[in-house]
Symmetry: C2
Subunit: 358 residues, 2 copies
DNA sequence: TTGTAAGCGTTATCAA
DNA sequence: TTGATAACGCTTACAA
């Protein structure tokens, strides 16, 4: 049996204490500079013989350079800061997933800072992350605190905004084509016969994606009104815990509809669930008593009631593209800020089917 | 209008380039060592007068020490590595949330590495994270690759395991009391009248939480059999995309039940949705045609079918406690590995109510 | 009580 | 082509 120290001569793959460049230099009987050159310029500038000596030593010691030391020296850390308004939000998680993958593939690591929906901590997050020399930021935050993102930019670090714009920010912006997505959802509701519509969202003010969706909603309704279709539309802001308010809004929607069909467009999965809950309280059936299309596809959408109709966002893509944009900037790409808008996809299910009541 | 360089004399709160300890020393006309002492030993070892001079300089320059440089010097980084098998798993996200909060409160930042369900990358993750001098690990991975975690331990870094044990690992372990939770779920199914039971899980082998849940299931059934109750139980491993197999398993369960009631216990939210999907395919009603209790409470559970009965895990707590354990170790706590088991909570809903068929 | 200087693990600038 | 050597920003003996 073996004691804690290995007794036989099998080379330990990675020794307990990391080898340094000095160890490698010693083992290869060269200078630290040579090892560093081998690492950074590989075969340029190096004799074949020396190169292989270094290579062997590196392998033998299982050496890999310390990113910390490199960061200190180069001022670059191969770290990317990701600030998220709320990791609980499935959309954020999905983006995170895409971004994390892209970063890893490009040899970057992600430092995560979750605001826990407390947007006042956005500055704190940026500061903490810059302290760690992150090379750039992916921000999926409310964007209410302009200062925070401006801070990041002031540090000279590139920033990519996901889903929410920060006003007056010079930064790449990656997002769903909100206007198009709203048209997709409303067009579908209209086609299937719903005429009295309601847009339900969390507080809209200063959150760009919500503003855009609301604006698109209103535009769609008024455009339809000028057309032949007799479409009506209202908006409602749902606060957490304000069940009463939401119930009232839905009741009044249905009253306005009279004998016609009424439908709701929700701005994200959280709100969708609130509306589903309200309908359960009211004893209404999805689809028949009220249509529902919600932003954000989820794995549970098919199984709630008759199935929830959703507008699926290409979340993985959004994350991947955001990370990609950032990494391009880190490689030195000089370009005016880009806007990259991806299309949503409608997934029609029972909640937008006004099947005849039994 | 202002050009890019500020023209007036308002002190810029944080200059674009971070001040260093040398800048502060110069501004306060003291040595770097003094500034360092002020930072690390505050009022000990320092004259009041000098201390205030340093303090003023620090404030004026908005100085904060570089964690990178500190890490290089001290060998400690105030970084904690979190390795997650799959960020898409809501359980993992919930734990992440709790852990992140606790870390932030203790002044640690989290470095996230997501394996994307590719457990072969676990070693890679550990290596990358140790390279960044993380002080410890929180691991929520399958635990199949023992080497990975052992690596971490070999680096002398404390490790906390969440939800999944790594066999033969000396590490703190934070988890749900799986046996108790299973008894909770099965006791409930039994009370409400279900007699023929099935445990559906993802592949059990070598994943401790699944093994524990399966073992508890079998133990419960055989204990009941020795008692008065005529309880039967089987297990089934559900693979992704094997809809056929799951459908067959459920059909055969119902056949075995005959005129009696049959119920399913699922090992996590993903599997729960698979079973829900299978029942939709089979045209069966939750509760009436088959009972269902699933591990993991979710925000959508109330709205799937008649409501999904779940076993809620204290996810936030799990994350917080895991981080807490780790931080205690980092503070020097010497203790044999601890096991911290938290109780689950049964949330009974319609899916475990065998209401009479209409 | 304060300052000087060495060193953490790198990279970059110079000579050789 | 290679090797000293000086940084990067910090902490910590050791001296003063």
């Amino acid at each position: 049996m073996l004691t804690q120290k290995s007794l036989h001569s099998t080379p330990v793959p990675q020794p307990a204490v990391r080898a340094t460049i000095a160890d490698v230099a010693r083992a290869a009987s060269v200078s630290k500079a040579t090892v560093s050159r081998f690492l950074n310029h590989r075969d340029k500038l190096l004799t074949k013989a020396i190169a292989t000596r270094v290579e062997v030593a590196i392998a033998a010691l299982a050496y890999s350079p310390s990113p910390m030391a490199q960061a200190l020296k180069r001022g670059r850390s191969r770290l990317i800061g990701l600030v998220v308004a709320d990791v609980t939000n499935p959309f954020s998680v999905a983006v995170l997933r895409g971004a994390e993958k892209a970063c890893q593939e490009a040899g970057y690591l992600l430092m995560l800072f979750n605001l826990g929906n407390d947007s006042r901590r956005e500055c704190e997050a940026i500061e903490a992350l810059t302290a760690y020399q992150v090379e750039g930021f992916i921000l999926n935050t409310l964007g209410r605190d302009t200062k925070a993102a401006a801070d990041a930019a002031r540090h000279g670090k590139p920033v990519v905004l996901v889903d929410r714009r920060h006003h007056g920010m010079q930064a790449d912006f990656v997002s769903l084509d909100n206007a198009g997505a709203v048209r997709l959802g409303l067009g579908h509701l209209m086609e299937t016969g719903y005429r009295e519509l309601l847009f339900v969202s969390e507080p809209v003010k200063d959150v760009s994606s919500r503003e855009e969706r609301e604006a698109a909603f209103l535009a769609f309704v008024s455009a339809a009104a000028k057309d032949t279709v007799a479409l009506q539309g209202n908006t409602f802001e749902s606060m957490v815990d304000d069940e009463q308010g939401l119930d009232d809004a839905l009741r009044s929607l249905r009253e306005r509809a009279g004998h016609g069909l009424c439908g709701v467009l929700t701005s994200n999965a959280v709100v969708t669930l609130r509306v589903v809950a309200a309908m359960a309280r009211l004893g209404w059936r999805l689809g028949a008593d009220m249509g529902l299309v919600g932003f954000d596809e989820t794995e549970w959408a098919p199984y709630v009631g008759p199935g929830l109709s959703t507008i699926a966002q290409p979340t993985d893509e959004l994350g991947r593209i955001a990370a990609g944009c950032l990494i391009e900037r880190l490689k030195g790409l000089e370009l005016p800020p880009r806007q990259i808008l991806l299309s949503g996809r409608l997934v029609a299910r029972g909640s937008s089917l006004p099947i005849a009541k039994p």
